[in-house]
Amino acid sequence: MKSWHIIIACTLVFSMSIGFYLGNLMVPDLPVGTVVAGIIGSVVGVGIVLGTIKFRENRKKHNVPDVDERTWINIKNFYAISLYIVLFGSMLIVCLLFALGTETIELGFLSIYLLILFFLLVIGTFVVKRQ
């Protein structure tokens, strides 16, 4: 077993333990079905990503790397620009909500907003990587 396999396994177990602990702390009477669905969803998600990586590696005809110095520069530039867009965009949204008379933001909305940001950053990284 390679060292990074152990690191991934430890990270998974550690993250799941924290997730269980926090979940139990926030919602003590969490239905078993929801927990099982969450675990299955996560496992399937990781499986799809790993499967896609393996499939792409097997299909590769030439020994050409996916990432090189130019790709890293592109990714760094993308994150630098994204940082400003996210900062100013978030500030704009807060100002807009304040102007519209909103006084509080629910944690649920915040988590959806962060999830969308994360999703967009991941998609953007893949797009930039291919250029």
Partner: protein, 69 residues
């Protein structure tokens, strides 16, 4: 005065009969990077420039030149 780095990589590569894929495999860079360098859209790092010199076995000024825009 605006100076720009120009290169003759495409010309030298075609003279030696090397394909972009072959070059990408040998230098462990992506084909897109070769394309960008050949079209003067990206200046390679010093490390890659030295690798290119060694790969084509030519002098530095035979590949890279500084030209006025």
């Amino acid at each position: 005065m605006d100076l720009k780095v120009k290169n003759r990589i495409k010309e030298i590569r075609l003279t030696k009969g090397i394909s972009q894929i072959q070059m990408a495999e040998d230098l462990q860079i992506t084909r897109q990077t070769i394309n960008a360098v050949e079209n003067h859209k990206y200046n390679p790092s010093l490390e890659l420039a030295l690798k290119l010199i060694s790969y084509f076995d030519v002098a530095l000024d035979e590949i890279f030149t500084l030209e006025e825009e």
